[in-house]
């Protein structure tokens, strides 16, 4: 058999394991009965062990070496080789004992983080975090890197990402978005939010609204589902079975809807993957940054636009006729764009969100480099929140302990959230050049042309080329903060009547 064909057979085997794991994970978050947790962990550990064994089979290494000699491979084949080599390298470079120790420590330190958070006492988490930082540094050393150690961790969540690529992006945000937020605050204008707070918003109405809007955008419910879960996410086994969730709060109708649009964006990306590359790494979504660009596109760039509010107002009135009495599209639009510096990242608005991420990025970078240590974290956190957002957490729970990520060693993950925001603005600008009547299309609820543009330029390209190359291919420019900054400046100036 041809070496490439043999590789594809092995990759299909690995992909099926991962599809099955996707279903088990979804079920665990959405509807598994509580007592099933222990045996579900056994099943997931079996899945993970089986996938790892298949990926690290020495035959994969032999096939890669053979194929890397060949010069007759096309772009897709080269993509599959690059991605398989990357996974194989990551899976084989970490000693089994280290992987097992890390897995054990993840469980342990998630528990101490949760306790520290609930008791508002950083010291409870301190020792476990120290060990987690040490292990993460060690992990980076095992994986290897060319520039700085943190690069090895960034690369885990977006292939090819490095500090030298991320720094300029955050510099652009720091220089432009931080002053913009200051202006909004100084200006003191606030939208009228009374219509939101003075009403209750039934779960049934929110479900209807979320479902209608997700369908209108283009999510295929014959190849996916909407459910509820504590932490909204998009999962499921494959493009024919994409499952997203949201959550409902009867005092706030925005959380479920914008959560639904966010997860719908992830879901559309999954449903748009190139189906001739089923079971192949080149056919999968292209890392966390690009994934986040698709969720943020629909949640923010589209979902919080004036045109979208104009189109969706009748739907709001259909599901909430009484609550929406006298509310105009303009009211709706201003309310969904309320900007206010706040302590909690996951509740942050579009303008301040990336400052939360920038703070985490700067801290992680120094922490992994050994320029600061765990004991410096709480103060570093508070100082940066004061500097960039003008606020200080009254306690650790609302400060350095708010996110779960570090407790399971996910250093390098946060920056992909901001990459997503930047990519979404850059992609939308590129799409608009080919869709000159974009605003009118959104106002008419005709989302197909934009979705088709994303299908063609992003979704159908899978992971054939690296994420930053994909952005450049789709937009004509390498990743940059400029489009996002411009978008935010224009919007804030108009909404908050700023003088530029």
């Amino acid at each position: 058999m041809d070496a490439y064909d043999e590789l594809l057979i092995r990759l299909k085997d690995i992909d099926l394991v991962s599809q099955i794991g996707g279903l088990l994970g979804w079920d665990q978050e959405v509807l598994m009965p509580p007592k099933a947790a222990a045996l579900r962990a056994e099943q997931l550990s079996w899945i993970s062990k089986t996938g790892h064994e298949k990926l690290t089979n020495p035959r994969i290494g032999e096939l890669l070496e053979q194929l890397e000699q060949r010069d007759d491979l096309n772009q897709v084949q080269m993509g599959n080789l690059r991605l398989t080599r990357d996974s194989y390298r990551k899976a084989t470079k970490l000693p089994t004992a280290f992987v097992a120790e890390m897995a054990m420590h993840k469980s342990k330190s998630q528990i101490s983080w949760a306790e520290a958070r609930s008791k508002n006492d950083f010291s409870i988490f301190r020792d476990d975090l120290v060990k987690m930082v040490e292990m993460s540094r060690k992990k980076a050393d095992y994986l290897g890197y060319e520039g700085v150690r943190y690069d090895a961790l960034l690369d885990l969540y977006e292939s090819g990402l490095t500090v030298s690529k991320v720094d300029p992006l955050f510099a652009g945000l720091r220089e432009n978005v931080a002053p913009l937020v200051k202006k909004v605050i100084e200006n003191g204008k606030k939208p009228d939010m009374s219509w939101v707070h003075e009403n209750t918003w039934s779960k049934e109405g929110q479900e209807g609204l979320s479902q209608s809007i997700s369908e209108a955008i283009g999510f295929d419910f014959q190849a996916g589902r909407r459910d509820a879960s504590t932490h909204p996410f998009c999962g499921g086994p494959n493009p024919d079975d994409v499952r997203w969730t949201t959550r409902y709060d009867e005092t706030d109708p925005f959380g479920s809807l914008y959560g639904s649009m966010h997860e719908t964006g992830h879901g559309l990306y999954e449903q748009g993957r190139p189906r001739n590359l089923d079971f192949q790494p080149a056919g999968s979504a292209n890392g966390l940054g690009v994934h986040e660009s698709q969720s943020r596109l629909w949640e923010n760039q589209i979902g919080r636009s004036k045109e979208f509010c104009e189109w969706s107002l009748p739907l709001w009135k259909k599901y909430f006729p009484k609550q929406m009495e006298g509310v105009s599209a303009e009211n709706l639009w201003r309310s969904v764009n309320f900007v206010e510096p706040s302590l909690i990242r996951v509740e942050a608005d579009e303008a301040t969100y990336n400052l939360h991420i920038m703070i985490r990025y700067e801290i992680e970078k120094k922490l992994i480099a050994g320029e600061i240590e765990v004991d410096d974290l709480p103060d570093a956190w508070d100082n940066m929140y004061q500097e960039f957002l003008g606020i200080s957490a009254p306690n650790r729970t609302l400060g350095v302990l708010q996110d779960i990520h570090w407790s399971f060693g996910a250093f390098g993950y946060f920056p992909t959230y901001t990459l997503g925001n930047l990519y979404s603005a850059q992609l939308l600008n590129a799409a608009k050049k080919e869709l000159p009547n974009h605003d009118q299309l959104i106002k008419n609820g005709n989302f197909t042309p934009l979705l088709e543009w994303m299908r063609k330029n992003v979704h159908s390209r899978g992971s054939i080329i690296e994420p930053s190359a994909l952005i450049e291919e789709a937009t004509g420019s390498p990743p940059s903060p400029d489009d996002f900054v411009k978008y935010l400046q224009d919007k804030m100036q108009y909404l908050y009547e700023l003088t530029s």
Copy 2:
């Protein structure tokens, strides 16, 4: 490592594959989006292939041979050996090419069966059924048998079952139940069913009733779920995650409730498995007959008893206050015990049900032995329905084409339904000897003592000994139709005022 310990490790690996398959199968029936079917089939085929590879690993054969020499094994260890040898033998005796051909033919002939059924034309299914019968005979020959060829197929669904064991059971039913049904019909008395048919029964009310009764009987919803599906079933991966379904018809409140009690009975058995034997074959439920005894116990022996109707009437009135106005426990009890010969097995009452099974058993026995052929089937079917139930199907759809089983070669499966009915009566009689106030307990809704008896004598015994030995151990007698016949005679005589 000790050979027994090594075997347990391998068995755990196999069991985890099967647990995962259990979840995939449940999801497919209950909530998978329609377009996911093709890739779900790939996942399930991967599961099946992986399980088969692990089971037929020659190392299992070596370990079995070593362990079968030992004389220091306890009952559980011997049970595990017996069951593993049995699975290993079945998995290795069928040539891979034959298994693949059979799988292909199953898919094909299920499609032609469905078409034949919908078009009421046996000839569409005829050729595929001929081939399926031939393959099933061949399968029996591969598997081997001591008595008759059909024994090899019976043994697939209840370990150790043979024609020489089943024949006397059905003889007892033929001699006693068939005449009893004739008397009921001749007698002509019918319960008042108007209160059922003149009302509509909301899905919400039926859900509430099913849920309350399942909880009252003892199903642990922290370790399981209730959902809806087209074909009710009980599945899920393991005793901590037992998932049963029912279906709702707003013109008939009995289908969902008695379906729920049936599946709850299966679920209680799964939840009661011996947890110190997790991942071991000896810890699993003991074949289809014993499983059906647990579902039938709660559905019929308990659920259609007068005492249960007395206890449950207030619940009926809680969920259906208007519909149940003026309905007494006696009305309810008579209505849920309405006996009438009908053409469709799955809609049959307690008295006629086993006659449907007996007909199928007699036909299968002759068909596998080669005493009749596929072309004789339609007439044989109609003649036996006339003889034992006094009715004839007006067409093939309501006759020989009604069940799916033969289309996928499940010859030997039907008898386990009747075994379940007989076992349930025999087990309940044995339990009553230790629970002299049984009727009062049920009337009070105190189901715990009966459930505890089943836990101790059936559930916790797993598959340590063979099904018929388990029935004898629990009841003091080998399987027999006597208790069931007596139960039915008493009930029918009272309900229909028969002269004995």
